[in-house]
Symmetry: D2
């Protein structure tokens, strides 16, 4: 049995790791870390876990934990892990970080968008960006540190990746309009996240400056082999879970003056994803809905061409706490430890 | 592998049986019955099942199905199964009926509340009322027909059962005020179930005449050894899943003039449920919330005494589609086939 | 023009007073009090008021305000007004208090349920309990202080009042199961009120000890001319606005052994409310819905007799921020100043 | 008093006209038309109107109605009015049509997008497109027919109009990503609009072929003096009311190589809207939220420049049933009859 510790286990993402691992046949949770609730029963904070988790919450002592665990999940605020990570920790156990600390290779870019100093840039290079479907091969038995992708980024990248990679769209034309459920805002007691403020409301936020932007740009840049700049606009939707990304790009005109066809764009999707368990390519023109992936690790993607404007509208949906956070973290763990990639993750989406 | 057929597989309860059985290690679904969608891909109707279910929908041919399946789940409107059930079907396979057709032993009571003629009263006697925690022993290897309890009834009965059985409350004083998510209304395209009609709204309905009333009365009557009449008022709540029952009853005064204490009422709960996997007895005075059981087969129960009025307020919460329908049906199947009762049902409640 | 000041104008109830008074032909708001947002633009906190309110927020200086205003609304936490109210303030202007400070005549009862010391019990006697439909006549030109009723209490009392007053139900048998939208919890940034905690969830809270209980008991006690004790259980519903009260009571048997009929109970409702603009008596057996009164000052009430148990189920619905708080406060103001009682309050419920 | 008839008064838009006109000082409703509910009490269908509307529903007899009414509102399905409108009707009274029948000047475009034959193209020319803020001057005392704009179109056009008109953005680059509450889908009992299908879900629909597209293109084309083609993608959001449009366009580079500044784009907004009561220009970079305009006739607009991509993100929010339908229809009526444009429309947005 793999021994797992979870730092930040009382946030929504941390709690979802717990939910998933409780049914994972090869993992045992040995550490429920939560600075805010030290010594309290975990199940008194997440009462869904009543009778399922008997443990109390521990403090965030990575130096002790790394000797008791085979893998540590850090579902912590930006900057936390960078501030405490050491060579010794990595020498003792694997770390899967759900924060942004090691996602962006260029430390200056990180510091500019996150407006905090990076305290341990020496580990950035070795960290593998854990977008499993794309970087699976980079995760080897020597990998010690996984930078688990963000929720918006996972959805945004996987939705556009096939067409970017196939060169069918102009990278400079990409516009991502994303919509997220409210769990993405975390469990902090803040006025804008109150029920009465979110319910019956929709708004954009972080326009032009949301911190997932450079992460999306970096990864899609790798896909097309050139730096790119795109527009990313997140919105807050009155629902608990789910991200929908609606992405716009201009099709690249061919030498004969024609544009890519429905068949060609769908071929690009199928080439990329037909072997993937967790990415479901819907029929051409079918619109993904967040409800159809809720509670699961699936991403549903599809697209439709607008003949009038020579644009393609790409759409992707996932559960922000599962494939957008905890599920992908466990998927990364499975890869790291040589398990079946979908072990413990065959969660059937729940409807309604 | 147990071969299962599902009649009414495209209703919400039927679809939930599918969701659960897909992860059940000992069951294979051989028949997705749906009169409305014959020959259509199941996954085109429930797109959460895309890539998980390849089958098409079949018609409702129980006579054929009973030879191909070991167990048939009927998640069908009231009166359907009573109209088609035959000795031959029961001779060939087990039937677990999610409708009310065989729940009530007195056919006149059934016909009065449901306002339909019962077409096969000859099977009522042998049917076992499948409220597992209470009737488990009545399910034997000779049992052919299970009447799976209603959603409101499962919640209402399990919440009051310990105190009724222990004689701590006056049966004539019981009042049940129940609140349900909207999935209980089914997937029919009816105006009162439209989003804009349900959202931001709460109302009572079926006041004094809801059809789950006699079912609750019959079962609680068995518990106290006498017929009882109670008040049951259901309400529609703007959420997808969940039932909360708030139940009021007067405590029985003892000979010395005192009333049962917190310790005594809690002992009654623990005596009944401490060995049960699916019933979680919360601490005295803790209020169950539907969110904490969502997606799982758990029922959370507790109570609190009102010293001023000598009443006890009992509360119970469950997921109406799981423990209130599909989950309990699978639990019954597990018992029927001698499997671990919670096999395939260790669903961890999802939060948020 | 009546000059009005609002203390606590940035809470939900305070903001609703603003919304209503902006369209009131005889009132001008001269003071937007808000300790938390002193000197900030009111419309920057409530952006619905952009271009409608130009004023900034003031501190809570009642001694200054009472000389500038004809009426002060205090939409403040329990204990605030009792701590600052003086004879001088009351000598200068009318005060309509939306807190509980002056609602309960017995100071010991107040202190027991609210667990705070009452700092100015000398004003309790003169305060008029502003449940307009019942106490209208007690509001005279000498009235200086109105204790505006609570949201649950307004709904609970008006729903049961006619049958209590007519002696048709046994006061000792009353059970009130109430359901409220989340705005009732206020605008404080607390974890249990976060969107993800409230959405898709229902729970009871404050069972046996909610502070509106003694207020309901006192007023219904006046109606039947004797002290009474009842059970009151509030629930939190995932919607912004609205309270639904479902109330149970045993009908009083007549000397001839019969029980009150539908006609008799409805007559009691019509006798009480037919002249009232804001109480709408629905048809016998019609179930009130919160959505049908949303945004308005209406209370919809009705009832249905359960012949089997000789109980009557009474139901009432209102908008907790309007008739349950701000609307009733303005109604009280209209009475106090001799205006048409529904002036500025002919708000048509908004649907959907 | 202006006598108004409403055809389609039991749809959501029709019912909102009723809600507004009940408080309009110069209008009396003389005809509640509803083919589905002829002879039924209007208030039995919309119970919010209980005691406010005593009338029964009438059939859709425009030939009779036009002699009894000064103005007819038609809140009817596409094609209805075109099929019944006659010269005689227009000779007798004003008609304000909330359907799309007379919005598009080119009948071929109408027939292509709506896939129905236009039965009375002879009236298209004289119909005034009633986007009040832009076409106010075209409404004269001779105007007989107003084509009231669509909900998405009103929001989409008003959001982009200032920058299109000022030539600050490239018309060919416009992408509109719009999000709507569910009331926009109407009150028809259709499966996709059930609570459980919409709640906790977001999806795009009508991608590349939504029928509001040509209407937006035509009007923005007038603004820039050339035909344009744009991408429009609507989404369904789990809320009752509200539309948010997030619009992307590339800024036009100036001759000196620079791009328009924040100051310049905001000036364009203020130039267009500073005299408008119903369009509120928020501060630069402030994001409109649907909740802040709910229940009112306001449109909140703003924008923000993305320096990295030389795009501007424009945002607008309105209540789809008010400014997007009924409210604008009444605004048009006010203009037509020479009343104050905001008479009966000073609805303060309701929060929460």
């Amino acid at each position: 049995m793999i021994k797992a510790g979870i730092i930040g286990s009382t946030g929504y993402a941390g709690a979802e790791i717990v939910r998933i691992l409780l049914n994972h046949p090869e993992v045992e949770i040995v550490w429920y870390g939560s600075r805010s609730y030290v010594d309290e029963q975990y199940a008194s904070i997440y009462r869904n876990m009543f009778k399922l988790v008997e443990a109390k919450c521990f403090d965030d002592n990575l130096e002790v934990l790394c000797k008791e665990a085979d893998v540590i999940f850090t579902a912590t605020p930006q900057g936390y892990l960078a501030g405490v990570l050491t060579e010794e920790i990595l020498a003792n156990c694997k770390v899967i970080d759900l924060s942004a600390d090691y996602r962006i290779k260029d430390v200056a870019t990180y510091e500019k968008w996150y407006k905090i100093e990076h305290k341990s840039p020496q580990f950035i290079e070795e960290a593998v960006y854990g977008l499993c479907e794309i970087n699976r091969d980079k995760i080897t038995d020597k990998t010690r540190l996984i930078a688990n992708p963000g929720c918006y980024t996972t959805c945004s990248i996987l939705t556009a990746y096939p067409l970017v990679k196939a060169g069918l769209i102009d990278p400079a034309s990409i516009i991502i309009d994303a919509k997220s459920g409210t769990s993405g805002a975390g469990r902090g007691a803040k006025l804008p996240n109150l029920f009465c403020e979110v319910n019956e409301n929709i708004k954009a936020y972080g326009v032009t400056n949301h911190r997932h932007t450079p992460e999306i740009e970096e990864q899609l840049g790798y896909a097309c082999g050139q730096q790119l700049t795109l527009s990313f606009t997140p919105h807050l939707v009155p629902m608990n879970r789910g991200i929908l990304a609606t992405e716009y790009a201009t099709l690249v005109q061919k030498e004969d003056g024609t544009y890519p066809t429905a068949k060609e764009v769908m071929k690009a999707y199928h080439d990329c994803y037909d072997k993937e368990y967790f990415v479901r390519v819907l029929g051409y023109g079918d619109c993904p809905e967040t409800k159809w992936v809720e509670g699961s690790n699936f991403v549903d993607v599809s697209c439709i061409i607008d003949e009038r404007t020579h644009r393609v509208i790409m759409m992707g949906a996932l559960d922000n706490i599962v494939k957008g956070a905890a599920g992908q973290a466990v998927q990364n763990m499975n890869i790291l430890f040589g398990l079946e990639e979908n072990m413990g993750l065959k969660l059937v989406p729940s409807f309604p």
